[in-house]
Amino acid sequence: MTAAILPDPTGERLDRPAVVRSRGHGANVLRRLLRNPVAMIAATILLLLILVAIFAPWLMPADPYATSMLKRLKPIGTEGMPLGSDELGRDLLSRLMLGARLSLFMGIAPVVMAFVIGGSIGILAGYAGGWLNTVVMRCVDVLYAFPSVLLAIALSGALGAGITNSLVSLTVVFVPQIARIAESVTTGVRRSDYVDAARASGASSLLIIRKHVLGNVIGPVFVYATSLISVSMILASGLSFLGLGVKPPQPEWGLMLNTLRTAIYTQPWIAALPGLLIFITSVSFNMLADGLRSAMEVKQ
């Protein structure tokens, strides 16, 4: 079965047939995800919400900041205010649309930052092993020892209200969770034979991490991170609900839920609307994350 290879004088391998390339792992996962009906419905809903959030200023029927004492708490279906108005007379639909921006941002951004920070910490600790790993993971464990809500409240409470502060506290809440899983997966990969083979070929640790470890670790960590987005959204809105996050008069679903509380006796359905949106978004993110997890878990 062995054929001798004659050196080609022109230096070009003209007689080589093209190599058949197999579909990569990522492509396989995507394909499986696209075939999952529940996940696709969830993805569509989210896409819609994101589009609304991005194009809110152009889609809004009215000015979300325009107050009017006369038009307070109008019911759903009022002329000019399809979803009614809030306790200061502002059009609810417009506020919900604009509020999508902050609500979605406050939900997604902390997870993204935690993914980068926590992932790096976890991968480095997992690859290094030894005492470095122990020290780093112990520090992570201290943060992990707090229930998430308590930690978020504690940090926000200490730092004060505001978007930046909330982002910081939420990121701090999620970094330990992501770092833990990144460390665990990296330790497993580190022990595998192909990493040994890479070490045996003389590659430096950084090169091995980049070419061998990263590709195998990012997948599971990413899937875990996506399952955190819904938690982050609920927590972020919760902070605003308590008055610790977004400050009025900026529209944000959690904050709106808070200010509309007084309306539960007069216009209950309007009072509940912002929460309904939080709920729908959260369920969609969860469904999508579940679908992603199933797509990745299939044994090849």
Partner: protein, 358 residues
């Protein structure tokens, strides 16, 4: 450079000459510490004595077999030779140059020594195509990506896998035998002189195993390689190897030419091992198992000669005096008091079974 020139390259890199062993292993020791038990005064620091001061050489161009039971330290030795684990003490001298010295930094040593692992699947990155996996090694040492991929394709052809069909595939799309060929190709990519084969064919079906063994022989000829062949399959070792090394509980107990060792083993352990090989010869029926019981605990090995607890020829002195690994017969070395005059073995009359040992 084309593959047919590899042999020339190897000769060109020969520093010490034909008589210089390719690899000298001296006093290699590796203990794995266990979690200490107890508190305060009762605290014990226990360790698994995986490799306990071994010495041997690998000669240029030979295939040296390493045999022994599970837990004897074969795999740890392989990892130590590859420097995947660092030894507690001892040195490796490659072609006359000590590893770690200015003449032979670790990176250079890793160009010249490569390993093929037992598990063909876990030794390939599941996210990398076959050609990328093979090309990785050369790119680490400065070869351009394009040239490395070309070399990968050439090597695939050499090990019997059509590049057009296999280069773009992922490990899970190949069979066990095909993956092992890929691992061999990967080991060859750096143009090494020594290849360690750690139970590389043990997980394959017999028919596939035969093909891969033939391939290994071919490659050895074509590239002028030296092999260290670790296996528990004595028949394969006899077939493939020039010399054989026998390990027991972290120590080397016998070394010698394959035919001589298999025909007339010196060390009682080797004798027992060979007698345990199943055979269809009616004249060699056995009723008693040649080797009784499990190997002792490597955390607390027996005193004196480590094998004395299971040795049929053991005598009282074997429990207290550790044998020296020396040349008993020209070309063959063994660690057994039987072959050591002045050890006290000759004069000891009492068979060991009547003496208790600690």
């Amino acid at each position: 450079m084309s593959l047919s020139q590899q042999q020339l390259v190897n000769e060109f890199r020969d520093v010490g000459g034909a008589r210089q062993p390719l690899l000298i292993v001296r006093g290699l020791k590796k203990y794995f510490p266990l979690k200490s038990t107890g508190f305060g005064l009762r605290r014990e620091r226990l360790a698994v004595r995986a490799v306990d001061g071994i010495n041997f050489e690998i000669l240029k161009g030979e295939t040296l077999g390493v045999v022994g039971e599970s837990g004897c330290g074969k795999s740890t030795t392989a990892r130590l030779l590859m420097q995947l684990t660092e030894q507690d003490s001892g040195e490796l001298i490659f072609d006359g140059q000590a590893l770690g010295s200015r003449g032979l930094p670790l990176r250079e040593y890793r160009r010249q020594t490569q390993m093929v692992f037992q598990d063909s699947y876990s030794s390939l990155n599941p996210r990398m195509t076959i050609e990328d996996s093979i090309a990785f090694g050369p790119t680490v040492h400065g070869v351009s990506k394009r040239e490395a991929l070309e070399r990968a394709h050439d090597l695939l052809l050499r090990v019997g896998l059509e590049p057009a069909r296999f280069a773009g595939r992922y490990p899970h799309e190949l069979s066990g035998g095909q993956r092992q060929r890929v691992n061999i190709a990967r080991a060859l990519a750096l143009e090494p002189r020594l290849i360690i084969l750690d139970e590389s064919v043990s997980a394959l079906d017999k028919s596939v195993e035969a093909q891969v063994l033939n391939l290994l022989q071919d490659l050895k000829q074509a590239f002028g390689l030296t092999y260290l062949f670790i296996s528990h399959d004595l028949n394969v070792v006899h077939y493939l190897c020039d010399r054989v090394l026998v390990m027991y509980l972290g120590e080397v107990v016998e070394v010698g030419p394959a035919d001589a060792l298999f025909e007339a083993p010196l060390h009682p352990y080797t004798q027992a091992l060979l007698r345990s090989m199943p055979t269809t010869d009616p004249l060699q029926r056995t009723e008693e198992a040649p080797l009784a019981g499990d190997p002792p605990n490597p955390i607390n090995p027996p005193s004196g000669c480590r094998f004395h607890t299971r040795c049929q020829d053991a005598r009282a002195v074997c429990a207290s005096v550790a044998p020296i690994f020396h040349e008993a017969v020209p070309g063959r070395r063994v660690a057994c008091l039987k072959y050591q005059p002045d050890s006290g073995y000759e004069t000891a009359q009492i068979p060991l079974r009547e003496v208790t040992h600690g």
